[in-house]
């Protein structure tokens, strides 16, 4: 190649190139199909689907390629279980590291323009429209809006805390909350037990109804919920949805699976598996809570008045959570929040 005269390089025949690339793509699949055929004769312990490279291949390849595996009288591992075994937190932290790398000045416009085009970002609302201002994608992701870009509705008592898409809303029936229409999860798994160390020791909820009674503090009231999905191109800060006082924070470390509407439809109790931060307190009608749920690309959650909160840490014990009370001698009820006030943000990785 390097000795041939320039002219002859242009005579390279397309057919050999196509054969080479086509073979290059198809051959590994044949080899894998043969290898998996071999593996399928092995007993289950020998075939560790937990080794996640194979997990990913299992998930990516059409099931036809894995025919031998499903025919060997072997319970096909559900795709949900496979998806849950993908190291989403590791991927999320790697994604976060990558996006903290400072971009050279000349590369900023093309990179951010690609992101803007891909996710439909509206830069005219950004407080700083000059793309060179943002040193890396993380900073770009945390961009603020012009104050006048989002007027706060003065008429209604509850406003949207963020930009996004309404996945579901309505009354909470028998302590089950919908993550999308028709797919529900248990309120108690999502919020955790009501008994906080420093509060009145609630009796542990013996049933769903008693858990509901621990939340609804006034006769005649009902429980309501609303789920808002933030897409990658949306403004990712969130604000106080009403006038309330935040008395408690509960941080559930957890998976960081994607929470896009398709996944929320596919994985029941998805929101109970993912890392999330639950803020609870009171508003003029009683109990109020806002929960920020992380996802693979947005693994970190910040609450501006909660310096002790550290999300997406490398190590955590499954099913654990940590509580923090904002009730102090100075703030007997907790942290007062006005409707529309800055409350927190999601960060990449």
């Amino acid at each position: 190649m390097h000795t041939a005269p320039l002219r002859s390089l242009f005579l390279l025949r397309p057919v050999p190139i196509l054969l080479a690339t086509g073979g290059g793509l198809h051959f590994p699949r044949l080899a894998l199909r043969w290898r998996l055929g071999q593996l399928s004769c092995m007993s289950r312990p020998a075939l560790k689907l937990r080794s996640w490279p194979l997990t990913i291949l299992y998930y990516l390849l059409p099931f036809g390629a894995l025919g031998p595996l499903s025919r060997v009288g072997w319970r096909p591992v559900s795709r949900v279980a496979l998806y849950k075994s993908v190291p989403t937190r590791l991927l999320s932290r790697a994604w976060g590291r990558l996006n903290q790398v400072e971009l050279p000045y000349w590369l900023r416009r093309p990179v951010y323009s690609l992101y803007i085009w891909t996710f439909g970002v509206n830069m005219t609302e950004a407080a700083v429209e000059d793309l060179h201002h943002y040193r890396n994608l993380s900073e770009f992701f945390r961009r603020k809006l012009k104050p006048q870009a989002r007027p706060v509705c003065g008429l209604h008592s509850v406003i949207s805390p963020s930009d996004g898409k309404i996945l579901t809303f309505g009354q909470v029936k028998n302590c089950e909350v919908e993550q999308v229409k028709g797919v529900t999860y248990s309120l108690e798994s999502f919020l955790g037990p009501r008994a906080y160390a420093e509060d009145l020791p609630f009796p542990p909820a013996s049933s769903r109804d008693s858990f509901r009674k621990q939340l609804v503090t006034r006769e005649g009231n009902e429980l309501y919920h609303c789920v808002i999905y933030l897409a990658p191109g949306d403004y990712h800060c969130f604000h106080s949805p009403t006038d309330w006082t935040v008395s408690h924070r509960r941080h559930f470390p957890g998976s960081l699976m994607s929470v896009n509407p398709g996944m929320a439809r596919w994985i029941k109790e998805l929101f109970c598996h993912n890392e999330r931060v639950v803020l609870t307190g009171d508003w003029k009608h009683g109990f109020f809570s806002l929960t920020a749920v992380g996802a693979t690309n947005v693994g970190s959650i910040r609450i501006y008045f909660d310096r002790d909160l550290h999300t997406n840490s490398p190590r955590y014990s499954k099913g654990s959570y940590n509580d923090l009370s904002f009730v102090t001698h100075a703030n007997k009820e907790g942290v007062p929040m006005r409707k529309g006030e800055h409350l927190g943000e999601f960060n990449l990785g």
């Binding site: 989002r150 007027p151 509850v158 930009d163 429980l223 609303c226 789920v227 604000h239 009608h285």
Partner: protein
């Protein structure tokens, strides 16, 4: 990412929403 609001309110609380609609920070979610 996702934000979930769960709160108690009197029976006549009404949402001003449609499932699937886009919404922006500051717009009304609902009231009594």
């Amino acid at each position: 990412s996702t934000i979930v609001l769960i709160f108690e309110a009197p029976k006549d609380f009404n949402f001003r929403l449609k499932a699937g609609q886009k919404i922006r920070f500051g717009e009304a979610l609902g009231s009594l």
